[in-house]
Structures are given as C-alpha cells and as structure tokens.
C-alpha cells in the first residue's frame, strides 16, 4: 500500500499524463483507497496538469468513483426491476439488520458500506449484488449473511478477500 501521492505518480507513469488517461488513474486510486479524497483529486490534478474542478466534475459523473469515505468492502445491491421483483428488499433488510447500518452508510469500524446500484447484468439469477468487484447472484437473506460473514472472517484474519 503506497501513500496516495506515490500511487498517483505510479499510475500516471503507467497510463500516461494526458486527459484521456484520467479515468484509468481515477479508477486506480479508487481501487486501492475505495474513494477519492480532496487530497487525491488535487494530486491527480497536479500530476496531469488539469484544473482541480475538471477532475472533480469528471469523477462525480461516475457512480463507482465515490468521493466520500467508504468502507473496505462496498456492497452494491441491484435495484432494477427484475432484482426488485425477485426480492431485493429482503436482501437489503437482511444486510441492514446484520450490519446495523442504513443504505448509504458505512459501518463504524469501516468494514462495509451499503449502496444500491443499477442493473448488474445478472437478471436471470436475480437478486444480485456486488461486493467490491465480486458478483453474487441468486441471493437469499441466508446466503447474504453467509457471504458477509466470510468477509468478516477474512477481515479478522487480516487477509484481503478478493478485491
């Protein structure tokens, strides 16, 4: 884990320092830090010689580039029509119950954040959700509890579960 400014410099070295390299760099920072802080955006602006407001305006456009502090594992439950029909609300309830947070919130210990998202492309196996980049389908409240527990276990063991 590098400090952010070093990470940004490495990303810029890897992808390039032109405007059309902005998105991969933003994604690289979110990949590690889980969100884009004011500091990271300023560093990216400095590195690419862009106005800070442009970096901000571009980042806020994309739903996956968060600019508020997020937990280590971001849960995104699909809320589009098929998942909605097949029980997404029960899934949300189960998660809210288990983690004791509401939609849009992060657990106090910074492990999980709970968000909703739009169609993930698994409608034939609804309901579905993402945890960071992993997809989980055919969800039931029990299955969800199992999935989240496994993350908690990995977290305790100090390992990194998927990414």
């Amino acid at each position: 884990m590098y400090p952010v400014s070093e990470l940004i410099r490495n990303l810029a070295d890897e992808h390039g320092r032109n405007r059309h390299n902005l998105l991969p760099i933003l994604q690289g920072v979110v990949e590690q830090e889980k969100y884009l802080s004011e500091y990271s955006m300023i560093e990216i602006a400095r590195e690419l010689d862009l106005p800070a407001s442009e970096v901000y305006g571009t980042a806020t456009f994309y739903s996956f580039l968060e600019n508020k502090k997020m937990g280590k594992y971001i849960i995104r439950v699909c809320k589009t029509i098929t998942c909605s029909m097949k029980g997404k609300n029960q899934i949300l309830l189960a998660i809210e119950d288990m983690l004791k947070i509401d939609l849009g919130e992060t657990t106090p210990d910074g492990t999980f954040s709970l968000l909703q998202t739009n169609c993930l492309g698994f409608c034939h196996k609804a309901p579905a959700m993402l945890v960071n980049n992993e997809v989980y389908t055919d969800l039931t409240p029990e299955k969800v509890r199992d999935i989240l527990s496994s993350y908690l276990r990995k977290q305790k063991e100090g390992g990194s579960h998927g990414n």
């Binding site: 032109n18 405007r19 059309h20 390299n21 902005l22 998105l23 991969p24 933003l26 994604q27 979110v30 305006g57 571009t58 456009f61 994309y62 739903s63 996956f64 580039l65 809320k79 589009t80 029509i81 098929t82 909605s84 029909m85 998202t117 739009n118 169609c119 993930l120 492309g121 698994f122 409608c123 034939h124 196996k125 609804a126 993402l130 980049n133 992993e134 997809v135």
Partner: protein, 394 residues
C-alpha cells in the same frame, strides 16, 4: 409445450469450433470492399438496440481517407434485463477479438478498444489472457492490430456511442451533437467504428460461413438470429439465440409461466407489450409483416399477473432519472417530472388527466432530447400508461 414453428433456435454465437485463427487469417487476405459487401448482403443490423446496418457503418468509416481510425467494441451493457454480452465475452471472446481485427483491416485501423462496463470487472483477467494470446497470433501473421480494455465506472449513458467516446477521452460521459457521426469523427475526433459485442460476434459468423447462411435466417428486414436475455417471471430465464421475426405469442408460449400479463421488450428503453397485443407483435426491425415490429437489444422481461405495472414504470423512471447525463433540458427535467408525476397521480395529488399531460411530455422528449436515452423514455412510458392506465391511478 412444443416449440412452435415460428420460434426457431439458432446456434451460431456460442458454438465454439476454436477456428478463430483460421477465420482471421483467411479474412484479412480478402479485400476490404469484398468484406464490406459480404456484410451488406447479410443485412446484419446492430444488435445493441439501435439497429443500424453494420455493413453500411463499416463502409462509411472505411471511405474516410488517410487518417488514424479506431475500432471500439461497446461492452457497456447496461440496459436492464440484458446480459448477453457478458456471456459472449466470457464464453467466446476470440470471436469478438477476431471480428475487431477484421474490422480494423477493413477500415484501416490499427487500434481496437473494448469499453467494458465497471460492473464486469471480474471478466478482466480472462479477457486480458485472451487478448494476449490474440495479439501474439496477430504478430505471427503480421497483422498490425492491438486491443486494449478500457474500464467504465458505473454510468449507463456511456453505452451511447458519443458518450462512450467522451468517457474514453477522460471526460464526463455526455453525448455529443450529431452530426458529426462516429464514422467521421469519433474517438479523439477520428473516424471510428463502434459496434455492440453481439454485432461483432455475428460478423464473425458471416465472415466464416458467408452472408447467405445468416441472411437465410429471420424474416424480411430482420435477417439473421439474435441473442435474447430472458428474465423475470419465467421458468427458464437465460440466454437464447433465436431467429428474428418471431411473434410474441410463440415466445411467451415457450418462455412464459402461464400467467404472463405483459412483456418488456428491449429493456427500460423498450416497449411493454400487454397480453392482448402478443399475437400482433413480432420481434424485428421494420414493421411490414404484422402489427408492430419492435427493434431491441434482446432484453425480454416477463411480468405475470401479480406484478404492478405502476411499480414497473416507477422503477424505470427512477433508473432514467439517475442515469441521465443531465445535459439537455427535456431529459433531465422531463425524467424528474414523469417520475414525480406518476407518483402524484397515484397518491391522488394530481388529477388522472395529468397523465395525458405527461404523455404529451414524453412526445416532446422523443422529438427534442439530445440522445437516445431521453428519446426512448417515451417508449416504455407510453406503452405502460396507455395499456395499464387504471394501474397508474388506483
């Protein structure tokens, strides 16, 4: 129930004979105009939902002289109910890569990109491996073509071609003014062919077997086969490759659960067809046959009688309200007005006649919105409100 005569299965896309190297090396030995004519005579139309003739698209881009060009595979599959492109990319990626390289040969492009939506991040490792193998072979046959993956970050609108270019250029994914069209000015202002994943997979079939095999399937104006993503109240959700031109009655016979009230054809930007209209609706690109013919990206969502159409419409409008880029007035404000409007009518805050005002609004959105998103809201809105008006009010 036996498969009715009209509902024909096809098996081109997922059949994998591992002969992509052969297809590629043979195709690049043919001239660009030969390949273009093959595509044009196949009458292949874009499978992402817009249905633009693929052969024509490649032709127009090829005709621009002496300048850098690009081939882009649009894998930003975000339409609710569509999941076929994911399957293609995980099962038969080499077909797509081959098609991109052949396109490069036809139009004169040396660089190809796959714009992969952020939600499909998990496809990256396998896809990268495939690309590596692919590029290795290209070097062997001295074909100058590289492919890179560009990841999206959670924006449905980036599936729109010009919004996709903007996104790849590191900006907000806001659609551009057309003209100019991508064949003249696309990614980085250069002529670009941008095709849906499935479209490219079909071109592979056409280049392998020839246009006639493809043309012989389907019906007039809607040639060939298409992948359908079936979900919702169906006992057999999944991906099916079927010939175009089938009637909805036959489709529902096969895929419905016996209680199908309506089916949404083409995702949230498509049309809702109520049961009474199944017989007169066919799936294709131009209506000369029977009643309406609906172009589609292949998303088929089935709703049975337990579902509330108000809830369905509400869900779609929420989706559009969030995913609109927000640039143009009719779409940005229109989506908000439609969503609040139907909620107000349902709650009794507004008279039922307000629905007609909203219908009029969707007409305006269809005529004036800057891109396909705003223009298609009218489709689902009007088809749901007109067919299930009472569910909007009571």
């Amino acid at each position: 129930m036996a498969i009715s005569y009209q509902l024909k299965r096809a098996d081109f896309i997922f059949k994998n004979e591992n002969d992509w190297e052969d297809v590629l090396s043979k195709s690049i030995k043919r001239t660009p105009s030969e390949l273009i004519n093959e595509l044009i005579s196949s009458e292949l139309k874009g499978r992402g939902g817009a249905g633009f003739p693929t052969g024509l698209k490649w032709k127009l881009t090829a005709e621009v002289p002496n300048v850098t060009k690009y081939v882009i595979c649009n894998a930003d599959e975000g339409e609710p109910g569509t999941f076929k492109d994911r399957e293609i990319l995980s099962m038969v990626p080499f077909k797509v890569l081959t098609a991109m390289a052949i396109c490069g040969h036809v139009i004169g492009a040396k660089e190809g990109y796959i714009y992969l939506r952020g939600e499909y991040f998990f496809l990256q490792p396998e896809l990268k491996k495939a690309i590596k193998e692919f590029e290795y072979y290209c070097k062997e046959i001295k074909l100058d073509f590289t492919i890179r993956i560009f990841m999206g970050s959670g924006a449905y609108i980036c599936g729109e071609e010009t919004a996709l270019f903007e996104s790849m250029e590191g900006k907000r994914g806001e659609p551009r003014n057309k003209p100019p069209f991508p064949s003249d000015s696309g990614y980085m202002g250069k002529p670009t062919v941008i095709n849906n994943v499935e479209t490219l997979a079909h071109t592979y079939t056409i280049f392998k077997y020839g246009a006639k095999r493809f043309y012989d399937l389907g019906v007039q104006y809607s040639r060939g086969s298409k992948l359908f993503s079936v979900s919702g109240d169906s006992p057999k959700p999944g991906i099916y490759e079927l010939e175009l031109g089938m009637s909805l009655t036959d489709f529902i016979e096969e895929f419905g659960d016996g209680d199908t009230k309506a089916v949404q054809v083409g995702g949230a930007s498509g049309f809702l067809v109520p049961r009474k209209r199944f017989a007169e609706t066919a799936i294709g690109f131009q209506g000369k046959l029977v009643g309406i013919s609906l172009p589609t990206g292949g998303s088929m969502m089935l709703f049975n009688s337990s579902r509330s159409m108000f809830n369905v419409l509400d869900n779609y409008l929420e989706f559009f309200r969030e995913e609109s880029c927000g640039q143009c007035t009719p779409c940005r404000v229109g989506c908000q007005q439609l969503l609040k409007g139907i909620k107000a009518v349902k709650r009794g805050e507004k008279n039922a006649r307000y629905l007609d005002k909203l219908l009029r609004l969707t007409e305006t959105m269809k005529l004036t919105a800057k891109c396909g998103l705003g223009q298609s809201v009218a489709n689902s809105f009007s088809s749901i409100v007109e067919n299930f008006r009472e569910e909007m009010i009571y």
